[in-house]
Each structure stands twice: as structure tokens, then as C-alpha cells.
Symmetry: C2
Amino acid sequence: MAPQEEKPAAAPVATNEQTLPERPKEEDAAKGPSKSALKKAAKEKEKAEKAAKRKAEEEKQKQQQEANDISKDDYGDLPMLGSEVVKPSGLKRVHLHNLTEQEADQTIVFRATVHNARVQSAKLAFLVLGQRLQTIQAVVAASETLSRQMVKWAGGINAESTVLVHGLVKKPLEPVKSTTISNLEIHIRKIYTIAKAEPQLPMQVEDAERPLPAEGAEAQQQEDDGRPIVKLDTRLNNRTIDLRGMHNQAIFTIKDGVCALFSEYLRDHGFVGVQTPKLIGGASESGASVFEVKYFNQKAFLAQSPQLHKQMLIASRFEKVFEICPVFRAENSNTARHLTEFTGLDLETTFEEDYHEVVELLENLLLHIFKGLKAKYARETALVRSIYHVDEFKLPEAGQVPRLSFAEGVKMLREAGVDVNENDDLSTPDEKFLGKLVLEKYGTDFYVLDQFPLGVRPFYTMPSPQDPTKSNSYDFFMRGQEILSGAQRVHDAEFLKKRMLALDPPVNPEGPGIKEYVDSFRYGCPPHAGAGMGLERIVMLWLGLPNIRLAQLFPRDPNRLAP
Amino acid sequence: MAPQEEKPAAAPVATNEQTLPERPKEEDAAKGPSKSALKKAAKEKEKAEKAAKRKAEEEKQKQQQEANDISKDDYGDLPMLGSEVVKPSGLKRVHLHNLTEQEADQTIVFRATVHNARVQSAKLAFLVLGQRLQTIQAVVAASETLSRQMVKWAGGINAESTVLVHGLVKKPLEPVKSTTISNLEIHIRKIYTIAKAEPQLPMQVEDAERPLPAEGAEAQQQEDDGRPIVKLDTRLNNRTIDLRGMHNQAIFTIKDGVCALFSEYLRDHGFVGVQTPKLIGGASESGASVFEVKYFNQKAFLAQSPQLHKQMLIASRFEKVFEICPVFRAENSNTARHLTEFTGLDLETTFEEDYHEVVELLENLLLHIFKGLKAKYARETALVRSIYHVDEFKLPEAGQVPRLSFAEGVKMLREAGVDVNENDDLSTPDEKFLGKLVLEKYGTDFYVLDQFPLGVRPFYTMPSPQDPTKSNSYDFFMRGQEILSGAQRVHDAEFLKKRMLALDPPVNPEGPGIKEYVDSFRYGCPPHAGAGMGLERIVMLWLGLPNIRLAQLFPRDPNRLAP
């Protein structure tokens, strides 16, 4: 702003227009000016002339400096890309994660985000430049070929600006500790802003790169070390800044890793990825907890899960199907574990003789995911764990996932002094406690509970032939929290109707969206089982994040629909 | 039904209860029975006794036959799997697609769907058994070790039932023409129903395996060859039967192939798969065509596309993102090209110097998909084409995708005598005609139009620096129909606001869901471009399907929310 204001002020004076102060005379001719007024005017004139002279000299000096600035073409703001016709240079752009010591003493060109920039002295500025999970130190040092003006300009670039850098790769005298790349640094030769960040951001990225304040600590204004406490709400309100945090880049890289490993394993095992409708004519699995949509002249609902349609696909000769898709729950729960929109990892498959074939497939699928994460995302995982300190996720040593019956789980809890009912579902605290007991006994954070009470499972669950109070259903747990729920399904239309009507309140087998589902089992549907997992839950529990919102890019809860 | 009715009728008579006819005497003592009545009663008694005797003999004979049925344990209905405790046999189950002549003369066990079953003679029955894309002929022949009863039973199994078969693999004397596997057949040793289909289905799978009736022909009741015409609505109403058609299995296998090839290519090129919210606080890109959702005490909307959020991720240092997700359009269009819910293949990426870097990436991505489909899904494609006869999809021979400017496209149309305006979008018929002209000139069904008129593109499109009436935007075409739309985006907040306000009507840059989007470009966002594709469009045009609904498992349009 400053240069713009200066120029118009200085310009008319710099023309040496001597008649200017005379003007008031003509306008106030009746009275004539007082002596003191004349004196004041003379003083002001003198002052203005001096100021004008000074400005003119400064301007001249500046122009000279610019003319003399040996680096004047090597820095500055580029016009908005797309606003001018520019012939591409074709210069190869480098990715920092590919940079090795082989590039030492070579000049490279790359685009980066300025994490911070500071002027150390008139001849030296430092910048930290970043690309997603990498940062590197850059030095701008005045020399015969690099001007002090450039040093000053580069050291003053607003943090978060996008810049284009030409620089010499050098091995630093000592390893750089403050950046992820410690064995190399950049000696900047040219630097331009591609997109300038505003000088004041609503929050700082480095504040987002610290753990969420512990519950209760939110009221505090700052951390013990004096830095401001940034509450979850502030982070989520400014999510596009928050997400720039390196741990967030890592979290969502890992999240995609889970999807990739899930799809890869299932396609390799003969599954077909499908897309079932999210807009449905009837409330999907029960009347509760569905969002209502205005659908032209009628009502529609958002699918709570692909449950009914994925089973209809099994009835349609699709032997094995999976889907990764948003699922919607209209539960008015504001906890650290609930979202109104999350990502379902769903699958459904026929089996031959026993639903444990599917349990085994699911165990192997999750082991494939966990092992894949350990092998391919070690760097990302370590990055997140440097902020959210949590124990390494323990996998069963022998490769055999403990598969306990629900009754055995209840027995373990009772032996540890917890009073639980064998026909009720476990409470979250009881689940977590059982997770601890299993970890102690079997040394794993991952295990399976099988044969849940029939009364706590949905109508499409096959009852257990061993015990009519139980069912052929299972949950999978990570660190004592449920991440997967599944079962053998009822594949006979008449028996399914019986099960629906036996519920309290009963489900109407003729209801909208339900009739077609029931009918699809009249045409010879093979026995099948499946599961639904919560992607965000898996990510949260793998990394030990304190809130499920941290595992969703733009989380939705009863109070949050933005950004 | 018949056996149940017979037994109660025969039972009281078969007890030889002699006093029965006497009873009327007591009741009608005043009159007494007439002679003719007595005669009639005696006759009936005699008749009933004869019938009872016959039944008893038949029953005895049947029991003897069953006792003598050497095959009695080798066929029949199995109890519902899950209803009884059964120790798994552990017998290896075979997949027909793995069957080779090496298995000839071996006995295999497999589960299959009965496509049809018929009794040829008292000693011979034929079945066609299927597994997804494979069918095989099976023979049940009476012998010293296989009873006529079993032949009769097997030949009478309802079509669409799921069966378990133990059978000897044999090379047939002549190739079997009616099944996909022609060089092998199954000599059944044991056959059981796992899940019986009802005898009458609302439609036949084989009727679904013929092309949709041509428009106008829907009023006809049957095809020229006498088979019933099954209209699209009937097919979709009974979609779980319709989808059993082998071409439908093929269509959705190919559809998943597109997703797999899309994800694979992008992950290999450094993209991260993401999940953006479908529930948004403001109408996503414009006020029109969004579905409204009751969201607790407020309104939400279903995202028309991930456009705004994927750009916000670019502003959040995610360099390259993609998403496969449902998108929702509340357009009241009942055409063969529109759905209210379809699958978006979306991506967004930074670029270095020129948005054509992204156009090139998109061209290569689609070539990867097309070549992958040709290489990996030849069988599925041929299967669909055997029903919907369409020319092979032509790819550019030299590998260079024709990239025409919109102005060039207009020129080609004008030279061919079509009057089009250079600043309007092309109509669908004009697009199709241009597709034909391009095919003639360049020999490819796949090409790109670049530099669209600015006025027909959304506010986030970067204007063209060459020509202010044009924009840095592009559409991709298959067989003359648009499958992809994309552009360089405006990455500067102030310029974006200017563009929003220049629209008629203007978009409010402070509106719900929009303010956060605009603000995210204040923090230094690199230049970026992207694209959105319609998955169902790609599948429809690759295969030449006559209606987009055929490329969606459970399609949604303004009149269809079920099944």
C-alpha cells in the first residue's frame, strides 16, 4: 500500500508549480489573509518543498537502485498464471521427495510453499520451503551476482505463498535440523511468487501441527510453552489452513492407503466394485436415523449403508461385491466418535459351507491392510505419531487373529469383575476394557468377537443354529473399539419375513424399498455374509487420533455443515 | 399342494369306520333316509374304499421305491444353510472359469445357478448350470448307480435355483453350442438345491438377455420371433432378475474395470484419493438443480459435484487429488442420457506452466482406461456387443488424441453446412455430428475440444489470455458425446470474486459454502486444473448402450426411486 500512497502525494509538488499557494488569496479576497496565516502558509510551503525534494531524491535513488539491481529479473511477483500468454519454458520441475545427494551442486527448478521466510542480515535471508511431506532450507545470500534488494525481498515473502525457485543444491556444513531434508539445502538463484498469501492468516499452520488441546484445556488461551491453543472448532472452521499441516497430509495419505489396499485385496480375490444408490425410496434398515430428501414431488431418504442393495446384488448372481461410499446417519450425537456422513467400506460375498469362510476372508483382508500400512506408509505413520503419541498397533504375532465367541468375551469381562449381561450388547467402556484384556492375553490390538446375541442384531442376521439366542454375526475390534460389523444374512424370503415380523416394533416386509429386497430372495439366492466398516474409524484407531473428525477432510456432525 | 389335499380326504374312509353312514338316521329320525339316498351312500362308500385302497397301495409303492432308490442320498433339498449345525465337508469347490480339459474325467464339486432343467426321457435329463459369465451343460443319466427318480427330480428343478453339484467332468462327443463352455460337460453324480427359486418369476432372465425394444416398439407385445418384449420399466422394476443376465454381469464388471484403471493410473501418478462431503451447507455451484435435505433444524443440500471441495484441497497443499463418488442432480429430465444420481470420476491437480499439462494427463488417463478395457475386458465387451451391436471403439492410431479448439470445431460444422454460433455451447445433435466429422477426418471416436466460450462455463473457469471471450476449458468426447468437462480454475480470491459478481445473476461470494471456498484462495493457492467425468457415460458410450440406465445397477431418475 505504501508506494501507491506516496506517489500521488509527491507528484504535484515535484512539478515545482509555484502558483499553487497563491490560490486562497483570490477566494478570500474580501477579508485578506492574516499575518499569522501568511506565515503558516509560508512555513507549510517550505515544508512541502523539502518533503517533495526528499521524495524526489528517494524516488531517483530507488530508480537508480533498481537500474543498478543486478538481480532485478531474478525475483518478484509473477502475473497470475493464465492471465497472460506465456510460452512455457519447458524447464524440468523437481519434486523434493525425489531429491538425493546426486543432485548436489546442480541447479534445480521447483515450485514450493513458503513455510517461513526471515531476513538474517542485509546480506542473508533464510526460507523454509515445503512440498506436502517435505521441507528444505533455502538460503538467499548477497553476492556479486545477487543483490541485497533481492535478499530483502525474499526474506519478506509472506508465509504460505506459492513460489517458483531456481536454486543450487548444496550439502550444508551441518545437518539442518528444522526441516525434513537435513542433508541438502538450496542456494537460491531466482525466486518469484506464483500466488501470494495474505499477510495475516486466520490461524497458523504450525499451530495446527500440534495436538488438539486435551479436553478441559480448551478454555485456556495458550499452551504451557506460551503458544496459542487452537481449538478443534477453530481448526475445522479454517480447515483449508489446518489441512496444510504435515500430519494432516500424512493422515489423508494413509486414509487413501486403506482404500487402495482394501480395493486391491478384494479385486484380487474376485470381488467386483459396485455403486449402489444413496437416494432410496424407503428408510433403509430401520425407520430411525435417516435423512429425508425432497425428491421432486415425493420424499426420498439417504442410505444408511449399502446393506439391502449389496445383498440384492448377491441375489442377482454377483458373487462378491464391494463398495467404498459415503453413508449417512441422522443421529444427533455430538461425540468424538460420531459423524453424520462417513465413508463405508462395504462388502458382501457368497460362501460355500460356513460363514466363517467369510470371517477368515475379512481377517485376511484387514491383516493385508495393516501390513500394507506398516510397509508402505511408515513415514506418514511416524509423522502423525510424532504429534499424537500412541503405541504401535500390535498385530497377532503368529498371524492367527484371536476369534472369541461373545460368550467367551463376557466370561473374560466377568472374571475381571465387570458385571455384563450375556444377551445385551457391550457398552463402549466394556468393549475398550475387553480390548485391554485381549491385548494382555493374546498380545494383539486386533481381534474378532463372534456369535453375538440375536436380539442386538438387525433383522437380516441369520440366527445361530447352535443357540437360538445367538446369531451368526461378528464384530472386529481395533484397540478395543469396533471397526467392523457383519453377519451371515438370511437368504430365504419367507424366513426373512418371519424375522421382520418378530421384531418389536416389526418391520413391514411390504414397505417401500423393503418389498423388492424381500422378493429378491424368492429367486434362488445363495448363502452369503458380509461386513461394513467405517473407514474413518480404522484411520482414527490405527493412528490413535483423539477425535474421528481428524480422520475426515471436511467432517459433518449435527452442528457442522461447513466448510 | 396336491399331496396335502389328498391325504386328509382319504384318511377317515381308510379307517373302515362302518358306523358313519348310520349317523343321518339319528338326526333325521322323523323322516328316515330315502331308498335312493341309501343307495347313493352305499355307492359312495364303495368308491371311497376303492380310492383309499389305491392310495394306500401307491403310498406303499412309493415308500418301497424310496427304500429301493439307490440314489436317495444323492439328491434333494438341503436345509437352509445356517438353520442346522453342519460340520463343513471341506470339499474343494470349483469355479467354472478355472475349468480346463485337465479336469476331464475327474469329479468336481461346485455351486451353480440352474439356468434351465428339462427331462429328456425317463432315463435322461439335461441342465444348463451357470456361474456369472460361464455356463456348462450337465447331464443326469439313469444307470445302475443313478435312479430314474433322481433323473426326474433333477430335470424338474425350478430355473434360477441355487444348486450344489458333484459331477464328473467329461469331454462331450460334440462341442456344446448353447453354453459358454463347449469343450466340457458335467455328468452329474449328486445334486441338491441350496436355495430353491419359486416356480413363477415375474420375468425371465433370458428375456432380459435381449436388447431393449427399439423406441416405438414398446407398444408391441412380442418380438418378431414370438418372444415377449420386455420393456425397460419392467426390467428395472425387476432389476434383481434383470441383472442376472450375462450381459449385465459383463457391463458391471467393465464398469468396475473403469474405476480400477482410473484409480490405478492416478495413484501411480502421485494422486491421493479423497472423500469430500456430499452434505453441504450451500447450493454447490449454482442455485439450480440441487436436492434439499432436512438436516436436524436446518437445510442441507446434496453436492452436485466435488468441485469446490477438491479445489479447496489443492489450496490445502494436496497437490493431486481424485475422487470416485456419487453426484446428485435435481434435474427433472426424463431422457436416455440423464440420471439424478450418478458416479463422478473427479480429479484436480496443480500444474507448472500451462493447463495443457493437465489436458495431456487426462488424455493419457483415458487412453490408459480404453487400452486397459481392450486388454483385460475383451470377453465382457464381446458379450455385451453380442446383444448391443455397436462398432468397435476407435482409438487414435498414432496415439495422438486430436485436440481441436472450439473455434476449429465450429469451423468444421459450418463447412459441413451446420449453422452454429461461436459463443454458444454446442447442442447434443451438433456434438454428435461433430463427432462423426472428427471420426471421418481423424479416424478416432475419442477427441478433445479446447478453449470453450467463457460465457458457457462456470464462474471458477479461468478466462483465456488469448481471447477474453474464450476460456482455458475443455471437454472430452466419446462417439460424439461429452464424457468429461474441465478447465484451469481461477486460483486468486479477488479475481474469483470479480468473476462471480460478473455473472448474470451474480454468485454471492459471501454465500454459505461459498465464502470458505473463496477464502481458501487467499492463502497462496497454486495454479490448478481438473476435470469431472461421468462413469456411467463412459460405460454407456464404450459399449454403445442405448440408455444410461443400463449402465447403473439401480438407476434413479425423476420417476424412479426403487428398487
